[in-house]
Symmetry: C2
Subunit: 356 residues, 2 copies
């Protein structure tokens, strides 16, 4: 498999992407990473050791910056690294796009270059959140939050489609046969929520998904559900609130230890492996980035602050997603949802792609 | 001062309210608590020691249950403990209402019995969240989240009024002269957010408040703002998500320690005071409940799971709020906001109160 990695995306580019690619390439010699970006800058990071056989460079002179308008940049900067990544995937020269850059441009690239899968009105970001307990395979539980920030103002049909995409993703990637899906609300009872969540509730009630009803904020972490559906505004707030809350707890413990005596510092040292385990469990860098769901190819956006380890895990996540056959699972799922899912549209991939 | 406490409200009523009242009465002998509810049940909890001089019982035969419709229960169950609490405050026989019961009924009681302050369309719940760092008085920082769940679907004028109420509350209770107010959004830039948050942004931009613009989820905990304004749906989700995320971290550390060796268990024992300090900092029971803001009297709703300590802290919070002159501060603030705040309505306290 060949993965197109945006070497210019993220706060630490091109260093973190290039080093992440090298880590991945070493662990998975059977796969190839294409580093897309400014060749001289990429080769400088690689240094005198050069690049291994399974890491190639695909030169792209331009870069999409955080200040760029996402749609306009994807349309007009045809030689920008991220745009070229999408073109490689579109043409079949690569199997997935990975970037730690502008997430809006990632979504714009997915939409404008790849187009949408049939049945999808608005593609969304899914993101795994750590949750307590283990699953049927003995793996740590995770809960997929969808949408994590792409579609700020939603219709109920969008939420219902997010539920289909989220279920398909969890089914294929985590091998959970019937992912439990909940709608994020301000109470569990049927009548709770906004007009939007109540309408989505009605749609999902009549669906072929394993719909468990409304769930509350704490249920994201409790292991009670596999997929939590929400609009992109709330999803983004939830994502940042939980990062903030978890980091606040960690920071309070740290400052308590720093203010403690010698014995407490020794105790903290003894507990280091446990603290590290917790950090790994809640660390975005371990989770391998957020997939763009609803488009006909695999695209993964990594955190803007991604270090090399985060980039490597994003590459691995993309690889696993391709391996798991996500796109086929998504197509099957939308096919199966025809009877109850509103808002199906004719496929627009072709005409959109041609207009770019 | 006299505080009317709903002795029948909360998961652990009447035990937790009665015991919480006794704790408070001991610490603050100059004040009086009126326990409102079923006399026999209250006296049974008090036991043979009886009640001290500054704790009285006001008999009320009925109870508002969690399954009751809030508005209907307040209107029709005239002898319910919570309704009687509001009547006592309305008539001037008590200075504040405190309950760990049905929060919807609390809001309904505040609205229907007390009415709204001039300028307020919809009263809201404020709730303090722990945030990092210390304030000008050397106290731990706190951030007020408003609305925490009362007004699920909001207009921009509601959000603007929440900003006024939240600022007035923080100014009077925390003695912060110019509380920094932010709108919770999915990004800091002006254009980010929904139609609702963008409209609220425009209103607050032209206000006399210390408006810092949009803030993101993590800013609730960073010490960057004193008041975070949001609709009741998002506020409720944020509140429960942060509780869930913080508890998940604590639970992961705990299970790591339980799975560790003897040395690690010893280390954890040594760190117990630090862990306890962190717990107290993030524990809702320490925060003394959420005030109902926008009504002409002090009303505090405590967590449904409140233990005696939480009830005691809610009583203390109500006392401090009365002492701080919140209502006068709210009236002054809405008076001062006349020039820029839309949605001012004639006071409806009188006609509403008469219709109950």
């Amino acid at each position: 498999m060949r993965l197109a990695l945006d070497a210019m995306g993220g706060d630490h580019a091109p260093k973190a992407p290039v080093e992440g690619a090298l880590l991945f390439a070493k662990d998975f010699p059977q796969h190839e990473v294409v580093l897309v970006g400014r060749e001289a800058a990429i080769r400088e990071v690689a240094g005198s050791a050069g690049l291994p056989n399974n890491v190639r460079v695909h030169a792209a002179a331009d870069v999409i910056g955080m200040e760029d308008n996402a749609g306009a940049a994807i349309r007009r900067k045809r030689d920008a690294s991220l745009r070229v990544c999408f073109d490689l995937v579109k043409s079949g020269a690569a199997d997935a796009v990975i970037s730690a850059g502008h997430s809006g441009a990632m979504m714009a690239g997915a939409l404008l270059v790849l187009g949408r899968l049939e049945g999808v009105e608005r593609p969304a970001f899914g993101t795994f959140m750590p949750s307590l307990g283990t699953d049927a395979h003995g793996e740590n539980n995770r809960c997929l939050l969808i949408d994590a920030g792409a579609v700020v103002e939603c219709k109920a049909s969008h939420l219902a489609q997010f539920a289909v995409m989220g279920s398909a993703y969890v089914r294929s990637v985590r091998k959970v046969a019937q992912p439990r899906v909940g709608i994020l609300s301000n109470g569990e009872e049927e009548g709770k929520g906004t007009e939007l969540t109540r309408e989505a509730w009605s749609l999902l009630k009549g669906s072929d998904l394993n719909f468990v009803g409304n769930v509350e904020g704490q249920d994201i972490f409790s292991g009670k559900v596999d997929v939590v559906v929400t609009d992109g505004f709330t999803g983004n707030v939830v994502l940042k609130t939980s990062e903030g809350a978890a980091m606040a707890v960690v920071s309070l413990i740290k400052s308590g230890i720093l203010g403690g005596g010698l014995l407490q510092k020794l105790a903290a040292w003894l507990l280091k492996p446990i603290f590290r385990g917790v950090r790994d469990r809640i660390d975005y860098a371990e989770y391998g980035g957020a997939p763009v769901l609803g488009v006909p190819k695999v695209a993964v956006v990594a955190h803007g602050r991604s270090c090399q380890r985060a980039v490597k895990n994003a590459l691995r996540a993309a690889m696993q997603t391709v391996d798991a056959g996500l796109i086929e699972e998504l197509e099957r799922s939308f096919q199966g949802a025809q009877s109850w899912l509103p808002g199906r549209l004719p496929p627009r991939a072709e005409e959109q792609a041609q207009s770019v």
